[in-house]
Amino acid sequence: MSFEDWIFALHLLTAATLVGSLVMSWIVIVSLRSADTPDATLNLNRVGIVGTAAIVVGLFGVIAFGIWLAILRDAFQLWDGWVIAAMVLWALATVALFRSFAEYAKPVAKARELVASGQTAPNSELTALNRTSTGLLLRALASTAVVLIVVDMIWKPGA
């Protein structure tokens, strides 16, 4: 394997990490919708943290190795239309994901507050925060952008 092959493999490994951890985050989000107690929220948050860390590694790894690959390979350039489209979609996904992380941090803060005050019973405000529609929409927007990046990478329109 050449050095370029290694960069390509790392680019795709970080892409797999990104998409796989997005799948993981969706499983946690769906589970959170039925979590109404501080304990359930905090337990799911432990799994969510791992997913968030993997998403961040995937996001930054995929763009770093992708740009490196575009510089190394003669077959395509950073200013090719499909490469620019992928970078714009990546930026959109990154902003949406970080804003959704902030949305899903709210129920965790609320659950910690409830635990600190000795309340462990189901709480309607916590349930509402766990079912945040803003967080859900942002995560859906980010996921759509990531799927479009994969489609763009496979078909390479205009290449």
């Binding site: 394997m1 092959d5 290694w6 390509f8 493999a9 680019h11 795709l12 490994l13 797999a16 998409v19 796989g20 951890s21 997005l22 799948v23 993981m24 969706w26 499983i27 946690v28 589970s31 304990d39 359930a40 337990n43 799911l44 432990r46 799994v47 791992v50 997913g51 993997a54 994969v150 489609v151 496979i154 078909w155």
Partner: protein, 156 residues
């Protein structure tokens, strides 16, 4: 020579490749969720069940899609028509080992986890069986990383 053919991908294979990648990443995500949930459960039934059901309801459909789309791609690329004087490339062999051997391990993890969840529901323990599911999920995660590396780097 087979590697050269593999590097040239006509457009009619792109959809099969997309489905193969979707299946692989969905399975990978389900394995990550399963291993993480069971590892961090600390006896919490909800997380133990999440670890099992993410494998059953998300991972299994993903695995089926991965395997079916992979088979479709194999036939579109005419690997079954490869002349006898050529050996199939190593990366393809690794892919089959991980998809088929890993598939059997996956089913074993589901069987063990299923008994574990059943025992958990009836208050007869079951956490140990779910930990075995977690260990298999971790092994499969490593195998999938190797498969992605082999499929992309195409070492021979």
């Amino acid at each position: 020579m087979p590697e050269v053919f593999a590097a040239i991908r006509p457009d009619d294979q792109s959809f099969a490749l997309l489905l193969h990648l979707v299946g692989a990443t969905v399975t990978f995500g389900a394995l990550l969720t399963s291993a993480t949930s069971i590892a961090l459960a600390r006896g919490d039934t909800r997380l133990l069940r999440l670890g099992y059901f993410s494998l059953l309801l998300v991972g299994l459909p993903g695995l089926i899609l991965l395997r079916v789309a992979g088979g479709w791609l194999y036939s579109l690329q005419n690997w079954d028509d490869l002349p006898e004087e050529f050996d199939e490339p190593t990366w393809l062999g690794i892919g089959f080992i991980v998809a088929d051997g890993g598939g059997l391990l996956f089913l074993l993890a589901l069987a063990l986890g299923g008994v574990g969840v059943y025992r958990l529901r009836n208050g007869k323990g079951g956490a140990g069986l779910l930990r075995a599911t977690m260990v298999i999920a971790l092994i499969l995660i490593v195998a999938y990383v190797v498969a992605v590396w082999a499929m992309t780097g195409k070492p021979n």
